[in-house]
Symmetry: C2
Subunit: 174 residues, 2 copies
């Protein structure tokens, strides 16, 4: 079987009639597989002043640490996606507080919507996408082993937002 994440070979990039952009179009039947930016929903989850991090069991960045986050699914709001991801990756039941940051990661067409959340009880365990899950005090965060730039950004913004509420969400650092 072909790589299921790559389009079949009869798809090609072309500008359909009445459109202005290249789309992924089937040469056989004209089906247009529209590609749109995808939303990553995630949360900085706090318990007793510590932050929940997951060690990734999957590529990319296997073995590196991240906050719970992943692709938003059909029919979900971004806050609901963040709740589901925390459960899938860390078996953690979280409560969303507010929207912390929105990042545009243009070169991979992603929009990251990052929330602040709390973990009411320290109950968690690795989900199937995580090798390890833990609560980290700020000074114990594995800064050199974070999976993505956006994990650095969101932790810095989390720190900056401490004690604040009702603020405009942070955006990409300049």
């Amino acid at each position: 079987m072909a790589d299921p994440t790559r389009p079949p070979k009869n798809f090609h990039h072309t500008v359909p009639d009445g459109d202005e952009r290249e789309r992924l179009v089937c040469r056989d039947c004209g089906f247009i597989a529209y590609e749109n930016p995808r939303i990553i929903a995630g949360a900085v989850v706090e318990h007793d002043g510590k932050i929940l991090l997951c060690k990734r069991a999957i590529y990319p960045q296997k073995g590196k640490w991240t906050i719970p986050a992943g692709f938003l699914e059909m029919g979900e709001g971004p806050d609901e996606g963040a709740v589901r991801e925390a459960y899938e990756e860390a078996t953690a039941h979280i409560e969303i507080r507010d929207l912390l940051a929105i990042y545009s990661v243009r070169h991979i067409s992603q929009v990251h919507m990052m929330y602040r959340a709390t973990l009411n009880a320290p109950d968690f365990a690795p989900g199937f996408e995580s090798l390890e899950v833990g609560l980290f005090a700020w000074e114990d965060i594995p800064w050199d082993d974070l999976a993505f730039p956006s994990v650095h950004w969101v932790l810095a913004h989390y720190r900056e937002a401490m004690g604040k509420s009702g603020f405009a969400p942070f955006t990409n650092p300049v």
Copy 2:
């Protein structure tokens, strides 16, 4: 040619190996056409206390009024999408002020990211998706002919946010 927006008949909904959800999969080659929520980027555009509205030239809701808004394209940030849409639909060069609201429209898997923006000069004209474009004082807004519930929501939130800045974006009305 088949309807290009509908998947070819050899696609069907099934749960791929290692997944937990139904996806749109090609029976021939296994290609998975992932479906994810899409982002609508738009703006409430103000000039001299009036608001820019476009009368839709396309379905759905042809002939009804909306703020400039549309699907975010690959490689764009949501604010950039809002700027592009204002140009496409109203030939208007707008300047983004801040993020006004984020709405989850779950039954059609859309996340609407709505900004506040200003139009520096009253230069605008219908783009190819608009029949008419105009600046409306609050009391002249065609309330009974707005295209979508989210247009009502965003105008109400715009009104509520007047004179404020640095606030958390509004969300779906309850």
